[in-house]
Amino acid sequence: MAEFLQALAQGLLIGSTYGLLALGMGLVYGVSGVVNFSHGDFISLGMFLCLGLYSALALDPYVSLIITVPLMTVIGGLVYWYLLRPMVGHQFLMVVQLTLGLSLVLQNGILMVFGGQPARTPSVVESKLLILGDVVVRVPHVIAFVVSFAMAIGLYIMLRSTDFGRSIRAVHQNAHAAALMGVDVSRVQTLTFALGIGILAIAAALLLPGTPIQPAQGLRYTVITLIVVALGGMTNFVGIMLGGLIIGLSEAYGTIYLSDTLGMLLPYGIFVLIMLFRPQGLTWSSSR
């Protein structure tokens, strides 16, 4: 029982951050139809930026956010404006190709700067534990959970009740009509991509404490994110957060009840099963 609760806590805590990773991808897909295969490598970039800031200035990853969030947001904006924008809407495969290429550039760029050996970025809260009865949770996971859900709620409110949020939704629902009402569609797409990459900078810092990092890890995060987005129904907020929790839980249960390697396979197995029986994703509204 203790084991079960332990896995439940860990799965929920980590899963919330997976949900956050996927919200960024879902938003970008929603407004520009771009599936970003370098998503995980941008998470890597966020993590290694934190490592760099720790090595150079001894900054805690949570403090590094002051620098990494604006920096990655600007990088995201530039990447969309100069690389993706000219191709969006013409050739879906070219866009996929481009983001895959970007993934290799990022991965090898990181490899060049930081080397290939696994590294860690310490944080003051890294080894702090929270003990609730039989369940022991790590404080960084609790922080990740709280921040991820706060971000998700913040994004939801932004989409509902600000002009920028409404223009994001308008471009998603009908880009032509949005343009006719004076929405600058390219600008909204660029800002959304920048926002998505900025969110990754936050997610990177949340995942970082206690996690060894290495340059080739990007693909794993890309795949997890894609799975969560597909589970949630691409643009459905609640569905995506739910998908994140499911993947987090299956990873946690798999690692505890099965072997380490087999446990890492469980999320993919569950994904295939869900897609077999619910190809439209977890929630109804995506099929509307």
């Binding site: 002009d163 223009s167 939704r169 308008a170 629902q173 009509a177 600058d184």
Partner: protein, 234 residues
């Protein structure tokens, strides 16, 4: 107010509009008629800036707008109500209206404009919190016009407002168009419905295969044998 000079527009190098010239004075209601594929929607989208013309010029209130982006044209008051209404289905009626007034010129006056639109369309008031996708076709047309009014249109361009509506709603919508005209709005009315348009517009242009075939006062256009011919594609 609007002068279109020898406009040529097309897709992929193939012209759809050949040398179209058209004028519209302030406060005027002008009809643009034509069969399917005559180029009406291409023309209205060129006026909205969705396509760059291959040649020719568009002037609005004395200003050359040919090179302006769609956004800039909205900001000077050229607003389109698109064919098929194209409301944002998963946004509420209220959000659709707020989005209509998102351009820099209209944003500050949104509460006042919203009152005006809701007074014009009391039905929208009842549906304010409802998703636009759940409205009937006629209600969506009201919303699409309301959304365009929120943008503080100086020139309102309506693309087939009667399309797919019941006769009762068509009558209602044309009543609204007459009222907006009486309030001083300049209107470009694109329609397939010949008699309806001839009755409501002061002047008409008839497009045939991307060219202006007939133009003039509505009763003159009505009696011109070329009108029916262009219309029937004979």
């Amino acid at each position: 107010m609007l002068e279109v000079d020898h406009l040529v527009t097309g897709y992929g190098g193939v012209p759809v509009l050949h040398d179209v010239s058209l004028t519209l004075s302030a406060g005027e209601i002008v009809g643009l008629l034509g069969a399917n594929n005559a180029g009406k929607t291409t023309l209205i989208n060129s006026l909205s800036g969705m396509y760059a013309p291959m040649s020719g010029r568009i002037r609005f209130e004395g200003q050359d707008v040919t090179a302006m982006t769609p956004k800039q044209r909205v900001e000077i008051g050229i607003i389109q109500v698109p064919e098929g209404r194209l409301v944002f289905p998963e946004m509420s009626v209220r959000e659709n209206l707020l989005l209509g007034g998102i351009n820099a010129r209209a944003r500050a006056h949104r509460p006042r404009q919203m009152d005006h639109v809701l007074e014009l369309f009391p039905r929208l008031q009842e549906r304010l919190g409802q998703n636009a996708g759940t409205l009937s076709g006629g209600e969506q047309q009201m919303l699409a016009i309301g959304r365009a009014l929120m943008a503080e249109a100086k020139l309102l361009m309506l693309d087939e407002p009667s399309l797919g509506l019941s006769p009762l709603f068509v009558q209602y919508i044309f009543g609204i168009i007459d009222r907006l005209h009486a309030e001083g709005l300049s209107i470009l009315l694109i329609e397939q419905n010949l008699n309806l348009t001839l009755r409501h517009a002061q002047r008409c242009y008839v497009l045939e295969r991307g060219k202006v075939a007939v133009e003039g006062a509505s009763d003159v256009v009505k009696d011109d044998p070329r009108t029916r011919r262009a219309y029937l594609g004979l």
